[in-house]
Symmetry: C2
Subunit: 367 residues, 2 copies
């Protein structure tokens, strides 16, 4: 099947309509459940969906070009619902779901990822730079699920801890630590499941592009806002969990270098907002700060310049890159070691944050 | 809402119909997605489902009393589909899915668990003995995701490794290892996600009921049968992965006691079949054998009795407990240290296997 579609190419504020032929080189998405043929993606970034539900009245996929309300599927002669996005999707990972007969469901073909305060379907649009987060034949670090005691929330809380390759083989070596937060509606599984933080690190360490360090990922909310309400969000409960409970647990269960110069905090989106507040509140705990699509620091935010070793600010080119760039310039002019990074062609999504981690890692814990 | 339903109590071959009043003490299942009110379970073991899909023609839940084809939901005045199982479910964890308008979907309210070669919805029926796998305020071990090199399958393969509490605090202590396999249609996530193997161990270790040991869980198939085909199943490819690739990786990346007396293998269902074949093929690798709803050994299967320290056979009372019991008797009469265990009131499901691990752990690695 070949067909012509209207490609809506949004490039900045330029709005260009052109005809593009869809290449019929569709392959199953790399985020499919084992053995599932659909959803599929092609080399141009189109996504094609197939849902078996012969008696359904309507099936729509939430993923599609912006402002078009997703992709409406059509029922074919066999009673199977199929459809292709109206244009190429951005490179990288996207959450989506199915709207069917008035309800919200997941695509039975795709794996699930926690985002938008539900386990969503996930799809991967091949990216020109996907090599940096590919699973390769290199030494791999471990991702450890830990359950740490949290007296303040009266439960055991979960974190994932990445220990780099070589951690076992060098039993007396100690490592710096990056505390890395997810965004709103996500949880502590995001950075390793959809972010591939472990593979990004494994690949860079294998090439000598970054120092090995530990990454700690935990849930950035406490129970009252588990369902996503942000209006009454207060930083104190999570700050207590992170600084008073998780950090001591990590420092007593992993071979960390347990001091301020060897401790970083970063986060994406809401996790950036948390990072900003917690780093400013705790200048003697963290020395390296990273906000990924998560705001900026102003020079006057920081009381003691000597305690800050790095400020990293990033976002996608489809977000507000000027704000990130100008904030880094202002910080540099004020004497901070500030770096900005803009991910080309991506928006407020995980490809921006995978690339941001890839840029951030080599800058951390330099002596 | 109170209603009378026909309770079909299947007890062995006895078929008894009686009226039972459903108690309206339904609560969200502990396996629900965060904040989701449905599915619910009551104190008698009934499950109640709610699916929002006002335009659907029919919605059926695969879970229900045996032989009844699941539970048909009815649409109420608000367009919401609801229904309650016709009787109490067995205690413990069950996989299920939704059949809607001719397609197979998951319940948007429930968490997903890999079983039946797909990520299924999961529900937890409270069990009288659920305390032994509850999340408690005790020291917790870690569950580590490792990616180990597998030259025979030309990829990096995934395993989960449970390291017991105390593993970090005692940096010179070495531990015995149990290699523990999932069943057909499941994968390496099953024993920790739905089996709660880590919590079972944490709780027993806290009470001094078992020696601490390491548990290794990996995927028990190689790619050609990933989609579940068992007819052409050959043990060789997985045996190579386990014995030649995974064991050396574990012994070189964890503090194991790397010898036959301190290495056990166990598995549930298909994993029991694999355990039987691999232990018999490799008498110098494993010393403790455990088949959980996964067949039996006969005395003549084993060539050198002196190499076998334990044979553990178990199943649910709703399976074939006589076969398991008589096999253990025959093994004992032949001079083996054989133990049988029957889980009361459970079938070929995870509650049987959680209880089996709980019974097995204290028997392992006794000197």
């Amino acid at each position: 099947m070949k067909q012509l579609v209207l490609l809506l190419a949004l490039s900045g504020s330029l709005f260009l309509a052109q005809a593009q032929e869809i290449k019929e080189d569709f392959k199953p998405s790399s985020k499919n459940q084992p053995g599932q043929e659909y959803p599929q993606v092609n080399s141009q970034g189109y996504a094609r969906f197939k849902i078996v539900a012969p008696a359904a009245d309507s099936v729509r996929v939430s993923l599609g070009l912006g402002g078009q309300g997703g992709t409406k599927l059509e029922k074919n002669a066999e009673g199977v619902w199929m459809g292709t996005t109206a244009g190429p999707m951005d490179e990288g990972f996207h959450y989506y779901h199915i709207n069917m007969d008035g309800g919200t469901f997941n695509d039975p073909g795709a794996l699930n990822y926690y985002g938008s305060i539900r386990w969503e379907s996930g799809i991967e649009i091949p990216a020109h730079d996907q090599d940096f987060y590919a699973l390769k034949n290199v030494p791999h670090g471990h991702v450890q699920q830990v359950l740490f005691p949290s007296p303040s929330t009266e439960t055991s809380r979960r974190a994932f801890v990445y220990t780099p390759p070589g951690y076992y083989e060098n039993p007396s070596k100690r490592y710096p630590v990056l505390y890395l937060q997810h965004g709103w509606g996500e949880d502590e599984t995001a950075w390793s499941n959809q972010g591939h933080a472990n593979l990004i690190m494994d690949n860079m360490i294998a090439k000598g592009e970054t120092k090995p360090f530990i990454i700690v990922m935990t849930y950035g909310m406490t129970n009252e806002v588990r369902m996503g309400g942000m209006r009454n969000f207060k930083i104190d409960p999570f700050q207590t969990v992170l600084v008073k409970e998780l950090i001591p647990y990590v420092d007593s269960h992993f071979r960390t270098i347990a001091d301020q110069p060897h401790r970083a905090m970063g986060g994406l989106s809401m996790g950036g907002m948390e990072t900003k507040t917690i780093t400013l509140n705790n200048p003697d705990v963290f020395s390296h700060y990273a906000l990924l699509s998560g705001g900026t620091y102003a020079p006057e935010d920081i009381k003691d310049k000597s305690k800050v070793k790095l400020i990293f600010l990033s976002c996608g080119s489809k977000e507000r890159p000027d704000g990130v760039k100008s904030a880094a310039v202002a910080l540099k002019e004020a004497g901070f070691n500030a770096v900005s990074y803009v991910s080309e062609g991506t928006a407020h999504e995980f490809q921006t944050w995978r690339r941001s981690l890839h840029e951030l890692a080599p800058l951390l814990f330099k002596e």
